[in-house]
Symmetry: C2
Subunit: 537 residues, 2 copies
């Protein structure tokens, strides 16, 4: 298909009449065309109205039908083929291999959510059967299920133009829950968004679902996003981006006449605790792993290791020397946008100018003017503990090493762990002799992060059942959930109880004969359901 610059308002293609956005090649700053006109407030309202009209039908679709729709979205994305990869590479400056991988992750994610919809555990069915003879009072028939909340606003993320954008994790989870989606496309990959939008819209059509199931808006500035979150028909928000952007949406959502949940994934420095035994395990291998994780995708990962914590001494010095050598030899990589690179320069400049912060290494400039140079800083734990601003994320390939005092057997490591703000991840690398320190760190870190990992690096977020990509504020706006993995469906559901509803009026999900084969609790006991002879649980 050829790009038009038009939005998707359900099945209608409409060109925004507001200020036009120009898709740029971040390497050169050259326009890639076409122009994307910004939505007007009336476009936002129209998209939300369509979504609201689609909500009852989508909420009531049988799981199989919704699953087939998600699979159809994946198929339609695959049909875009190399055109999608080429456009995403041009718009993001990311290498083709990474983008191809991300297409696979996006379609795999849609198919995983399809399987999860069929599994049906998300429906949370609980049936407490009537006890008409109970004394002193009979118990009525009570049936609980999780129900789609309604239209969801999704904001595409700059750093995952596919896996966390138009048909990314938030969209997949909302559709899986049975919620219509209105996406505000990210300005850093407009053409990619239009291509993926066409795939989703085609899948809606193919699947015979109401057109309001999916809309895609474009818009310069923040007004369109704010208007979307303020629209009374929107019931929840999925966002991945900056802390400033996320907290602005939180404020708008909380100030509505009827506040709604905001699931914003915002910022994290992903501390890595390098325990003494791990530092003794050869500085080169450790440095290779660290610099690889730090500079992956120009450091533009939510989970890149922006903070190392270790006890000072010769082993740390050897590691830092090896890491500094590697980083100094690393050429800068193109960042996603000029704005992101400017912000990276500002935050690393600020870091470099902070009293007590030493610069250990700076990478080589990149091939183009929009490359971000990797940087490594160090600071003593005592200073770090006094300056909470040192925990702020510099989005890009920059890390700070917090050097702890070795006295008291790693006591200061635990002190630093306790002082941490909410994080997406926290890593412990340990070796011989570190067990006690690791055991002391774990119960602290599990209260600070959504994911705790041992002896690896935090980049690389598996899309599965057990993943948590979330964490306490300010890593996210809402630490009760995850934005990656199947648990993410729960963000767009709420429980409803049906009391004494006659069998012929009960939703199918709650019927005695369990036509959807959902896992259930009957009087508190998990049922063993067999589906064509295959044990379901």
């Amino acid at each position: 298909m050829s790009l038009t610059g038009a939005m998707f308002l359900g099945s209608e293609r409409r060109t925004g009449q507001g200020p036009a956005l120009d898709p740029l090649d971040p390497r050169t700053g050259a326009s890639l065309g076409p122009a994307y006109g910004s939505a007007a407030a009336s476009d936002v309202a129209d998209a939300c109205l369509l979504a609201d009209r689609a909500a009852p039908a989508l909420r009531a679709t049988p799981p199989d039908r919704r699953a087939a729709f998600l699979e159809r979205v994946a198929d339609r994305i695959e049909e875009l083929g190399s055109a999608l990869v080429e456009r995403a590479v041009a718009e993001s400056g990311l290498p083709a291999g990474r983008i191809s991988g991300e297409v696979g992750r996006t379609t795999g994610q849609l198919r995983l959510f399809a399987a999860e919809v069929r599994d049906g555990g998300w429906a949370g069915v609980r049936i407490d059967r009537a006890l008409p003879d109970r004394s002193p009072q009979p118990r009525p028939d009570l049936r609980q299920r999780q129900l789609a909340v309604g239209p969801v606003a999704v904001f595409g993320a700059s750093n995952f133009p596919l896996a966390f954008s138009v048909a990314g994790g938030d969209t997949a989870a909302a559709l899986a829950a049975g919620c219509p989606v209105v996406v505000k496309g990210h300005n850093a990959h407009l053409g990619t968004s239009e291509l993926v939008g066409s795939a989703v819209a085609a899948a809606v059509r193919d699947s015979g679902l109401p057109e309001g199931t999916f809309s895609l808006l474009f818009g310069a500035g923040n007004e369109i996003g704010q208007a979307l979150v303020a629209d009374p028909r929107i019931q929840a928000v999925g966002f991945t981006g900056s802390r400033a952007g996320g907290t602005a949406l939180m404020r708008t959502a909380a100030a509505r006449p009827r506040p709604i949940p905001v699931y914003a994934e915002m910022s994290s420095v992903n501390p890595v605790f390098l325990l003494p035994g791990a530092l003794r395990d050869g500085p080169d291998r450790l440095a290779e792993g660290f610099t690889g994780s730090l500079t992956l995708g120009a450091g533009q990962f939510c989970t890149n290791p922006g903070l190392l914590v270790a006890v000072g001494g010769p082993d740390l010095d050897a590691f830092l020397a090896a890491a500094a050598a590697r980083l100094s030899a690393t050429a800068g990589q193109t960042m996603l946008t000029r704005g992101i690179r400017d912000a990276y320069e500002r935050s690393t400049g600020q870091l470099a100018g902070t009293e007590g912060v030493r610069e250990l290494a700076s990478g080589k400039p990149g091939e183009d003017g929009n490359a971000g140079t990797a940087r490594l800083f160090a600071v003593d734990a005592e200073v770090f503990l006094r300056r909470p601003e040192l925990q702020e994320e510099a989005f890009g390939a920059a890390a700070t090493v917090v050097v702890c005092d070795g006295r008291g057997g790693g006591e200061q490591l635990v002190q630093v762990a306790r002082a941490l703000h909410g994080q997406l991840t926290a890593t412990v690398r340990h070796g011989p002799g570190d067990r006690d320190t690791a055991a002391e760190l774990l119960p602290v870190l599990e209260t600070r992060a959504g994911r705790l990992l041992f002896d690896g690096w935090p980049t690389g977020v598996e899309v599965g059942h057990a993943m948590v990509h979330g964490g306490p504020y300010p890593a996210t706006s809402d630490g009760r959930t995850t934005s990656v993995g199947t648990l993410a469906v729960q963000r767009f559901l709420r429980p409803v109880c049906y009391q004494s509803v006659p069998a012929d009026l009960l939703p199918a999900a709650l019927a005695d004969d369990n036509p959807y084969g959902l896992p259930r609790r009957l009087d508190g006991v998990r049922e063993v359901v067999r589906d064509g002879g295959r044990p379901r649980e």
Copy 2:
């Protein structure tokens, strides 16, 4: 035990040095003594510090131990015997039978949560096993569980001095999750709170748990509650009360440097749709059921039926005449406090003075000066749809009948349903010929309420697995949850993922051999676990 007026700061009894609160008999306004000194800001901080210190140990308790503790709390409450019932009757003005029943509900609730803790489904264990040979990238070992958030602030409710107060639903759910609790006792039942507080504190001691597991503060005005919610160590809030009180706590929680969830159950008019077939079923029986539900406990139930919706005509007239006759003959019952009665007088007065609102009946005065008189109003649907303020709760035995136009086959009933704000419950009473209207109402009402019930009355909230006592704003601050029933535990948990954590460091809940016998998903598949030969699911 004799009452002292002192607070519980962990194991310490401390008398608040702030303005003293006087426990009053609501019937007479006479003091019941002793004086309860208000907490100072430092008392709040001390309680939160104790709770914060207790949090790691409580979070790590094996399910069996936490369950035994909850059962011990129930035992200790039962040991209070008639002294508890007498005090609660004196402080609340509620009849002894109701209070005895509520003691049973409170202890039953604690034991149900104990059973739920042992069941372990709340732990949400998911294990995605490592796939070291997966291509292009290996999958690491990933294990997810739900973890206690930490100290929870609980506000006792005026209208359930036991079941939703010091050791009520919020406290039971938070303790079940493994969270320490700091209760702000309600000023309307101070002595009852002290008695129950002594039972919880004793159970903490009996169970060898850290003293900060439970604290109980008293305080005049709103300052103590606000300070509690603002304390950085508090991680979540449970509240049942007025909309003004709930939204004030929401604002405080959202304005913290690190915002936290507030679970406030605030207000609901619990609409009851009386469909034509139900109206034909004899006006007297219907009127008996309605007035019984409306006036139960002086109408001081969150779920009392404050709004009836029906199509006008002779059947409705007959029902209203029967209901008016019953209500006119009903003597007013003592309300919980002077303040609650004053607020009831104000809101019903306002309702009576609203243009288009007709008063159908007013009950007889009660025996004492603090009795609330039952009142019944009517308004045409057309006026109701124009005036959102008619949806505001008048806490007490007052109801408004919304009279719909019969043209269009009940179309206006559905219009009223669509216009409803968030509710705890929505009821449909139907009879022969009403199936289509009921089927049209159900998908609308399930988006407006936490519980949908047919052919009953909304008062009477079963404490079980399938109950939802919640609903969209403004019924609650957070419609994703319930404050009654076992699902309520989830409010005080957040998911954490453990990646490649060595077996000897993994929390027991996630160990391969499943020492707690928790229900799990292994690679997405629900395990069938057998516990001593008994199928667990």
